[in-house]
């Protein structure tokens, strides 16, 4: 091992077969080695290994455990006494680059092959991926998932089917699930109907897009600022404030709807976009998820920046925010989902300020003859949040991993 960039830490090595060794772990870009106390030869040595901090370190902020994953996916666990040093060089970009099997290790493999060196990889200890799973259980799980998955997806498929049905198929007995002659007539009819209405369809669309965009952006900035100080600084009142926010996760807009109406009318916000946008800025779920996620950021990152003389706002804007991109996406999807689906009939009266969902409800009121158009409008509205989720799923799940409530 080269001397440059080598970091070391005292600790315990736990083998999968139960053996424990006390000693020192040394690691650098090329590999890692564990030396038992007073011995010159390492107990184990890994070349081209990928070092990976355990997930709970990410949440807890201090590294006490370290998992080494080899190319063949076998693992070694270290319990370190002074783990921070190892963390420093390993993956400071963990937040926006989720660790995948093809990273540094593979790159080093490639380089070694170019140099014509032999690669040493230790044998892994557990061969089967799921050693304690029965085949019957696996089959049962697949059957249940298929059964319930079909039930979950059926109404959505039926909705899309209905939106593509020509008029004669909408009223055929028995109704087909999927049209035999799909047509986009319903969509074009929808735009014709909406074009004849008092307020043009595009107006509803613009309203909804405006409310969603402004509400989401403001929510992202304001809630992230609050989440940042709640997660990373200790000040009187912070904990109590967060506990109150956690309790308010339960109270939906319906229950607070009436007093909110009274307050908004006092503030003169009724019949303005602000009546929808300002409450969205303060949505508890966004602050909650962002704070939980930010807690996982290493405190060392912030301490280092403070020593370098960065102000709190600079730390927030150029160090913390770029590192919590997965949480942004999660906040965005929750915010978009609630704003996009709002009908706002109680706080907005002027026709020209109403939203897409409200317009949909009006078409629906047109009765059975409009079944196809309603389905078409529904498909348009529904597809936006679902598509956002499909494309950001992995980031969102990364955020949700820290969503738990600790009491």
């Amino acid at each position: 091992m080269s001397e440059t960039n080598t970091v070391q830490s005292n600790g315990t090595l736990k083998m999968i077969d139960g053996k424990k060794f006390r000693g020192t772990l040394q690691a650098n870009e090329i590999g890692a080695a564990f030396y038992q106390k007073g011995k010159a030869e390492p107990v184990v040595e890994w070349h081209y290994a990928r070092l990976h901090r355990m997930d709970n370190i990410r949440r807890g902020g201090t590294s006490t455990q370290l998992t080494v994953i080899l190319k063949d996916d076998s693992r070694y666990i270290f319990e370190l006494d002074h783990g921070l040093k190892v963390y420093n060089y390993m993956d400071s970009h963990w937040a926006d680059k989720p660790i995948t099997p093809r990273t540094r290790g593979d790159e080093l493999h490639r380089l070694a092959e170019l140099r014509g060196e032999k690669i040493q990889v230790k044998k892994h200890l557990i061969t089967r991926r799921h050693p304690n799973r029965s085949i019957a259980g696996d089959i049962g799980i697949y059957l249940l998932l298929i059964l319930f998955g079909l039930a979950m997806v059926f109404p959505l498929v039926y909705l899309i089917g209905s939106s593509l049905k020509p008029l004669d198929e909408l009223f055929r007995f028995p109704p087909p699930i999927w049209p035999s002659h799909p047509t986009t007539d319903n969509f074009s009819d929808l735009f014709v109907t909406m074009g004849q209405s008092y307020v043009p369809f595009s107006r509803y669309l613009v309203n909804t897009v405006f409310i969603t965009a402004v509400g989401t952006f403001g929510h992202l900035v304001i809630a992230s600022m609050a989440a940042f100080v709640l997660a990373k600084y200790e000040f009187p009142g912070g904990k109590v404030f967060f506990a109150v926010v956690t309790t308010c996760l339960m109270f939906s807009g319906y229950v607070t709807g009436i007093p909110n109406y009274l307050i908004m009318s006092k503030l003169g916000m009724i019949d303005t976009y602000w009546a929808l946008i300002l409450p969205a800025f303060a949505a508890p779920i966004g602050l909650f998820l962002m704070k939980q996620f930010m807690e996982g950021l290493p405190t060392a990152l912030i301490e280092a920046a403070t020593i370098d003389g960065a102000g709190q706002f600079r730390i927030f804007w150029s160090i913390v925010m770029p590192n919590v991109k997965p949480a942004w996406l999660t906040m965005i999807i929750f915010s978009v989902q609630s704003l996009w689906n709002t009908s706002a009939a109680t706080v907005i009266y002027s026709e020209a300020k109403k939203t897409l969902v409200y317009a949909l409800q009006q078409i629906q009121a047109g009765g059975i003859a409009r079944t196809g158009q309603v389905a078409a409008a529904n498909v348009i509205i529904v597809s936006v949040p679902i598509l956002i989720f499909v494309f950001s799923q992995s980031r969102i799940l990364e955020t949700m991993a820290s969503s738990g409530i600790k009491d």
Binding site: D17, M54, D55, T67, R75, I77, N132, R133, L144, L145, F148, A151, M152, P155, Y158, L159, S162, L170, R172, P174, I222, M225, F228, Y233, E234, F235, P236, G237, T247, C248, L249, M250, F251, Y254, V255, T256, G257, I258, P259, Y261, L262, L278, A282, Q312, N341, V357, Q364, N378, I381, V382, I386, F389, Q393, L397, A401, S403, G404, I405, K406, D407
Partner: protein, 325 residues
């Protein structure tokens, strides 16, 4: 600073318990004040959110509690009437009793069932290979973010023969004539519960899926060495204890959806529904608040709902405290 030092240097042994307690309090206050002064920018960061949060979440709750003791119809100033609203609610309002019964039935069935199903399916999905997992998560999660998509059930359960469910049943000869699924009080609740369950794989489900993926595999490997033989043992001894925070989060989300049922009955069963058979506490609250403008009465309903939800959360947190121990 000097103040703190002077307190700390005084001999405490001669003082009474009470004055020592006061000293301690004062010292702690001084310490908090120091901490607050050192972190003043923190309050600046928190302020925009805190102000909005106070205005649109805390203040409404306070307003609700306040108006629940008054008669208030927006036009006249509020008149204090003590507990009259609550007395009327419980003793005289028969529709409210129906609403409570319905909300209770919906909450008791969809809350726990939705919660358990979310957990089970998150667990099952976790056993799938990675690419399939992503597809399955979308399939199960989509209904809950699809917003108004549930209105498709008004086509599926339509009262005439063109309704999909009616046509299937008639095809197989189970019923002779179409049934009015959404307007007949006998069927309404069942259909509501089905629809709400369909939408119940929400934020909590997502949190569970992420929780399962977040558990380090080395714990399972260690468990395997220690003799965990099947997936049930693994679930109970390893998975559940490390997922407690997610379980509590999921429970909070379940309470929210179970008690705040409002859109679904309004859109599917009509508002008001036949014989008030699909009335829930929240639709009742809407009726009094936005149709009859009896704000005091509506506030009393909201206050009761707050109380019940907080109690539910406390009870569940207590229950979860014992999981896996």
């Amino acid at each position: 600073m000097q103040h703190i030092q002077s307190i700390a240097s005084k001999p405490t042994a001669s003082k009474s318990f009470f004055s020592r307690y006061l000293d301690m309090k004062r010292e702690r206050m001084a310490h908090s004040w120091q901490l607050a002064k050192r972190n003043k920018t923190c309050y600046l960061f928190l302020a925009p959110y805190a102000i909005l949060f106070f205005t649109f979440f805390i203040l409404p709750i306070g307003t609700s509690i306040f108006y629940s003791f008054t008669y208030y119809n927006i036009l006249e100033p509020a008149r204090f009437i003590g507990l009259q609203n609550y007395v009327n609610l419980i003793l005289q309002d028969e529709v409210f009793l129906t609403a409570i019964k319905n909300t209770f039935v919906i909450a008791v069935i969809t809350g726990p069932v939705g919660y358990i199903l979310s957990f089970l399916f998150a667990w099952f999905i976790n056993e799938l290979p990675k690419w399939l997992r992503a597809v399955a998560v979308v399939i199960f999660y989509a209904p809950s973010i699809a917003g108004s998509a549930f209105t498709v059930f008004s086509i599926l359960f339509r009262g005439d023969a063109y309704g999909w469910f009616n046509s299937i049943l008639m095809e197989f000869g189970i019923i002779e004539a179409p049934r009015l699924w959404l307007t007949d009080p006998n069927y309404m609740m069942t259909i509501l519960i089905i629809v709400i369950l369909w939408m119940s794989m929400g934020t909590g489900f997502l949190s569970f899926v992420a929780g399962f993926q977040g558990i380090d595999r080395s714990m399972y490997e260690a468990g395997y060495v220690d003799g965990v033989r099947n997936r049930w043992q693994e679930l109970y001894h390893i998975t559940l204890p490390s997922m407690k925070p997610m379980l509590l989060f999921g429970a909070v989300m379940s309470i929210t959806t179970a008690f705040n049922v409002c859109d679904v009955p309004r859109a599917l069963c009509g508002y008001p529904s036949t014989d008030y058979a699909a009335r829930t506490v929240v639709t009742h609250l809407f009726d009094y608040g936005f149709s009859r403008f009896e704000m005091g009465y509506a506030s009393a309903i909201a206050t009761l709902l707050f109380l019940v939800m907080i109690l539910c959360k406390k009870a569940i947190a207590g229950l979860l405290g014992r999981v896996g121990t």
